[in-house]
Symmetry: C2
DNA sequence: CCCTGTTTTGACTGTTCGTTCCAAACTCAG
DNA sequence: CTGAGTTTGGAACGAACAGTCAAAACAGGG
């Protein structure tokens, strides 16, 4: 019979994700998406449904690649304390590399979470997993003697999450290296 | 001659500010503004210019009232360390009071700063002043013996700013009391 | 080479956007 | 009461928006 798809679904989704990431949901028009994804309007609607569905799919992909994949990589290639430091260092490196798009989960938390429960659930889950990552690293660090036992892991993890979010917000508006470095250094102060 | 203005400029501006605060810039239509401000479309354009000009005026007003006025009040009614604690406590109290609008400066930093230099300048100035507030309080606290001398005021202030921003972001998406309280408690950990 | 069924395509829909404009309503000085 | 100057409400603008559709382009099976 017929004919396979001529464009790559995943590649197109990645492009859409990048545009939503840089511009936000409202500020991205379907025309922007048609152009950046390199596929036709009709194909877009046939493959991804409406704009909101496409955004949700892009957000889920971001969560899988840039949050889950990223965390897993950090855990594997560093010790507990090193993984926490690397999380902040990599966020700063992205800014130094010229990207001031911040983090799509954080951006979405502000733009859409208060007005869309389904999207909020995705964002909340991603942020909770980051909190859990920090918490796990702290507890492992304590077991390994890298982090003092008097640190309350749950509270400190939430402090690190909040510092990290602040860093991502600042990197969109005040991407000065010294400012971001100071913030990252304070992460260490929560673990002493 | 004729007839004084029939609507109150400042009151209308406050209403507009509230709508931008809750919904963001893009998601607020001129129709929303006409309705929430209670004035006519023509009067709106005659008094405030276009949408962006109105937003900038509202943002400046927010900065004057909710950032500058707020900081001044904190400085006057608390000691150095108490002022820092009160800053976080009041942000949490706002959430408990039912508002999950966060902070207009933070919301704008994410939505518009990367794409609008004039707006970015306002946001950056407001955030820098908050940083300065934290820095001043730390140094005064050190002079008063409330805060250890080994704390580096500039770095710790940036950490507090970042924690504060994170708190504001989380309050829009995960306004759980225990989470926000943990974050506020970590502010103290940066000052020990 | 034609038939079949899917994909691609770009024109098209109705709606909403920000903005402009004008005539009617109105207040107050003369 | 009259005239001057403002505010008002709503109609109207072109542009941009999200979303739809029918026809053309296409690959493989007969």
């Amino acid at each position: 019979m017929p004919w396979e798809k001529q464009f790559d679904h995943d590649a197109a989704l990645s492009k859409a994700m990048g545009t939503f990431w840089a511009q936000g949901y409202d500020a991205t028009s379907m025309q922007d998406l048609v152009e950046c994804m390199g596929i036709n309007r009709g194909s877009l609607y046939a493959s991804f449904g409406d704009k909101r569905s496409l955004f949700i799919e892009a957000l889920r992909r971001y969560d899988a690649v840039y949050r889950e994949g990223w965390v897993n990589r950090l855990v594997k290639s560093h010790g507990p304390r090193g993984a926490i430091a690397a999380a902040f260092d990599e966020a700063i490196a992205a800014v130094q590399g010229g990207s001031n798009d911040g983090c799509l989960l954080v951006n979405t938390a502000l733009e859409l979470s208060p007005h869309d429960d389904e999207i909020s659930a995705i964002v909340d889950h991603g942020l909770a997993e980051m909190e859990q990552f920090f918490c796990d690293m702290i507890e492992r660090g304590q077991a390994a003697g890298e982090i003092p036992a008097h640190v309350v892991s749950v509270d400190a993890a939430r402090g690190l999450l909040s510092l990290f979010i602040g860093l991502r917000v600042l990197s969109r508006s005040r991407p000065e290296a010294s400012l971001l470095r100071s913030v990252a250094n304070q992460a260490g102060a929560l673990l002493t």
